[in-house]
């Protein structure tokens, strides 16, 4: 595996944290009456009130919708930068599960906690900043994009 491949994977892992972070920002700011994404808006806003509400649904429920939404990335994998696009797809696929594990804390499986400590997945501390005021740190996969997201989307009233 050459450095170019490593670069594509690392960049993809950052970019999908940024994209899912922007989407998280959107669903935090829309009304549950939205005709297209209202269901997710309601789920996320309930999750703000009760972070353990994520435990109601199973692994499949946390994975299928991000997977469907990321399917267009695979169309690009046919053309240049295939590792980048596969990483974007894989990151979207596991993004909500990574978010869930950040809320499980010590109850998350050992491999998830190891990946959190390595910074590959978002840690409880990094995601906890979002639950402080819901106006910053929108990343749900690894938090690598928090600097950029906070600059672009963070609290604008202070």
């Amino acid at each position: 595996m050459g450095w170019a491949v490593v670069g594509q994977i690392v960049t993809g892992w950052f970019v999908i944290d940024l994209i899912t972070g922007v989407y998280h920002f959107v669903i935090d700011h829309r009304k549950p009456s939205d005709p297209v994404i209202g269901g997710q808006v309601a789920d996320f806003q309930e999750h703000h009130e009760n972070p353990r509400s994520m435990e109601k649904c199973g692994l499949l429920a946390r994975v299928w919708l991000p997977t469907v939404m990321a399917l267009p990335a695979l169309a690009f994998a046919r053309y240049g930068l295939p590792w980048f696009w596969w990483t974007v797809f894989a990151g979207a696929l596991v993004s909500q599960q990574a978010h869930y594990w950040a809320h499980r804390g010590p109850l998350a499986p050992w491999y998830a906690r190891a990946l959190q400590q390595l910074g590959v997945l978002i840690s409880p501390d990094a995601h906890g900043r979002h639950h402080g005021d819901f106006e910053r740190s929108y990343g749900v996969l690894n938090g690598w994009s928090h600097g950029a997201l906070d600059l672009l989307l963070g609290r604008r009233t202070t």
């Binding site: 920002f25 959107v26 935090d28 700011h29 829309r30 994404i37 703000h48």
Partner: protein, 33 residues
Amino acid sequence: MTAILYILAAVGVLAIAYAVFIVVDAFRHPPMG
């Protein structure tokens, strides 16, 4: 086949327009919930 491509393109354009709208609109509201 061409008609299907036109329909897919139209759906794609609508999806992109909706995505742009909800991102821009999100800046107009405080976080909810």
